[in-house]
Amino acid sequence: MAAKKLNFEQSLARLDEIVRHLEKGDLPLSDSLSLFEEGTALLSSASRMLDEAEQKVVKLRKGADRQPEELPFEEE
């Protein structure tokens, strides 16, 4: 159902939704359980995104046809 590959912001929004649903407590047990599972998976993928993130820094140069060209940014 819910598409995989949510970015962090989407994951957070979906998680919030899931928790609200669970907290309302009016869902049948099986639905609650599958929501709970989805939430747990999202939680771990979101934390993994944070763990694995590595900052990218580039310097932009106006290239041919004025198109932007990315260059590595060296600390000066």
Binding site: E23, K59, L60, P68
Partner: protein, 402 residues
């Protein structure tokens, strides 16, 4: 008595010569209020300096006027620098002004206030035009000098707080005459090629002259025109520039801009933990509610003691049996009544009762009852039966009819 008459020109030139000889008048500094300020198509500025009692005609030639950093207006208190000389054509002396300085505030300060008032009137600072910053920017364009502490501080803080955001640096000069067109150009370029979803522009601290590029109208208009939200981050805490007013968000320093631009991953990890706890608690609550319900059901007697079911069925059975036997009894007694009725009817029919009333039965020798006279003839032996006994008799004569 003939006197030598001077021409007007000779007189004016003499006066001019006298004034031009005075070293004090060659370099004066005079304070007053500007009035009747006019700029001619030639580029020369003409005005009068006055105080409460007198006035002084002044002219500022095009070359000096071009160096003005603010726009002089009638009513301003200023200090004027220049030399006093005579304009022979009019025979009037005047101040040939080489520089003007606003009284009190510096000329840059006045220029700042003037541009601020102009852009405010045009609506460039309107709240309604401010765009919200993205909560989780994917790419941030930094428009600043690639040297200097500011860019390093920003990259470091961005990386620490939110390493998921890519940083795209658009290096520009941030001071000098080239700075404003470069900064404005980079902001417009970032928009044209959509290189980011958030722009930070600014520089580290410095004098008002150092920060001046961010008080430039071209920079202000580029920020205003930017479809990508812009954070302005110029100098230190107390420095406020025109860019700060136009930008969608103002940061007190470049480091502060980095803090405003991205969320803090540590806070978000806490938020994730919190969501984790909440979902677990909700799930636990759900489970305990269900198990409570289950326990309540289990406590019903029918489930705790199965014999109750059987006992109940047995009671029902007893009840049924009672009903059955009651109805059977009713049937039996009805039968009994019927029997009594039939018996009495039978009794009424009994031949013995007839005999008791005085009748008798005649039987032949075989014991069959004789129902007709024609069955008998003279000399037959018959027996008469009475209710209480009998008599054997012989037939004397038979009479038929009667």
């Amino acid at each position: 008595m003939e006197r030598q008459a001077l021409s007007v020109t000779e007189l004016n030139n003499r006066i001019k010569g006298l004034l031009d000889l005075d070293p004090m008048l060659a370099d004066v500094c005079v304070r007053g209020e500007l009035s009747n300020y006019k700029i001619y198509p030639s580029g020369h500025h003409y005005f009068t300096l006055k105080d409460s009692e007198s006035s002084l005609r002044c002219v500022m030639f095009k070359g000096s006027a071009a160096k003005l950093r603010f726009r002089p207006e009638s009513g301003m208190s200023v200090t004027a620098f220049g030399r006093v000389s005579v304009y022979p054509r009019d025979g009037a002396y005047q101040l040939y002004c080489s520089a003007l300085q606003p009284e009190g505030a510096g000329d840059l300060q006045v220029a700042f206030e003037q541009l601020k008032a102009k852009l405010a009137a045009e609506g460039l600072f309107d709240r309604s035009h401010k765009k919200p910053l993205p909560a989780f920017p994917e790419k941030i364009a930094i428009v600043t000098s690639s040297a200097g502490a500011a860019v390093h501080d920003m990259i470091r803080i961005l990386g620490h707080r939110w390493p998921m955001t890519k940083v795209v640096l658009l290096p520009v000069r941030v001071q000098g005459v080239e700075a404003p067109p470069e900064i404005a150009g980079a902001i417009r370029y970032a928009n044209e090629f959509q290189v980011a979803d958030l722009i930070i522009t600014g520089r580290g601290g410095g004098s008002i002259e150092d920060l001046w590029a961010f008080n430039d109208e071209r920079v202000a208009r580029a920020i205003y025109d930017s479809g990508i939200p812009v954070i302005s981050a110029v100098g230190h805490e107390p420095d406020v520039t025109i860019s700060d007013y136009v930008a969608d968000a103002r940061a007190s320093t470049p480091s502060n801009a980095a803090e405003i631009a991205v969320p803090d991953q540590h806070e978000l990890r806490d938020a994730l933990d919190h969501l984790d706890i909440r979902s677990r608690q909700a799930m636990q609550k759900k489970l305990s509610q269900l198990s409570q319900k289950l326990a309540a059901l289990a406590e019903k007697r029918v489930l705790t003691d199965p014999s109750v079911y059987i006992d109940n069925r047995r009671m029902e059975l007893d009840h049924m049996r009672d009903r059955l036997s009651a109805s059977a009894e009713r049937k039996v007694s009805a039968g009994r009544q019927e029997f009594v009725r039939l018996a009495s009817a039978l009794d009424a029919m009994s031949p013995l009762r007839v005999l008791k009333r005085g009748y008798s039965i005649t039987e032949d020798g075989a014991g069959n009852s004789v129902k007709s006279a024609s069955q008998l003839k003279k000399g037959d032996r018959v027996r008469l039966r009475f209710a209480d006994g009998g008599a054997d008799c012989t037939v004397d004569c038979v009479t038929e009819g009667d």
